[in-house]
Symmetry: C2
């Protein structure tokens, strides 16, 4: 059976996780891999409705994503998770669950993400309409040693995607 | 890619869902299929901690199981769910989600399940220590047209398992 993989994206809202994950998924499908994206919003809707953005509830949400990603990964599916997942400890907890865990840090400065503000959430967070918003009034803990980092303020989408694919080849996860 | 499948077990607590699901899973693995069991207790722990046994929360729990089962099924995994799933409407909602949904009614009379009382839950429910217990003070709605029915008060474990496997062959889900 083909080896599965958890491709764990982490980064601020607006850093580019969803956008990059979709293109990476297409590239992997072209290579004949089975792929699922567990996007933050989709997971909140289907697995975690009712949870808040408190640290405790965020951790529960991430554990659920980890549980599902692991089920898929051990059945040969490349599973891309694209939730902010701001806390280091819980990301490392998921890493321990699965032998094929690759952390992908989608790195963009807060100022850049806030300027993009694709969903209009930063404006709401600054206005105090949303509480516990990562980067504004809730912390983001960057990974210490992510297997892959994309600098979306300095790279084109294509460059970020190519970097991920070539890194997966070097790491032995793609042939 | 090999076709996945949702094998949706439903039935009272103590009817035999977990026991049968484990043996069916082994038989399917022997045939080279990828199999996952989403057992009621495991799912409550990993996806639905904090949910009660109210109708609303039970429906949320079943929708989550359906969401995960569908993700696995569409990637070629035979996914056996073994939660009581007492409500007809929500089971049918999950059926609509997936083209390869097979409902397996694990049918045993309440008296038999209560006499077995493997987990000691019926005694607690009768004593009022557990509320909203299916069959005691919460309804169980049997399926109208399950693809497969096992009568665990009249069949041996082996007979039930063989009936499921041969039914899957007849339905075209196993070769």
């Amino acid at each position: 059976m083909e080896k599965g993989l958890i491709l764990w994206f982490t980064g601020l809202s607006g850093a580019g996780k969803s956008t990059i994950s979709k293109v990476v998924a297409e590239k992997l499908k072209e290579r004949g891999r089975k792929v699922e994206i567990l996007d933050g919003d989709i997971v909140r809707e289907n697995l975690s409705k009712g949870l808040t953005f408190s640290k405790e509830d965020r951790d529960i949400n991430i554990r659920r994503i980890g549980f599902v990603a692991h089920l898929l990964s051990r059945n040969g599916v490349v599973t891309i998770t694209a939730a902010i997942s701001p806390y280091k400890a819980i990301r490392n907890e998921v890493r321990e669950m699965d032998d094929n865990f690759v952390e992908v840090y989608i790195n963009a400065p807060l100022e850049v993400c806030e300027k993009r503000d694709v969903k209009g959430l930063y404006a709401k967070a600054r206005a105090g309409e949303i509480k516990m918003f990562t980067g504004i009034d809730d912390p983001y803990e960057p990974p210490d040693n992510p297997e892959i980092t994309c600098y979306t303020d300095k790279e084109t989408l294509e460059e970020s995607v190519n970097h991920i694919i070539s890194s997966l080849e070097k790491l032995g996860h793609l042939t």
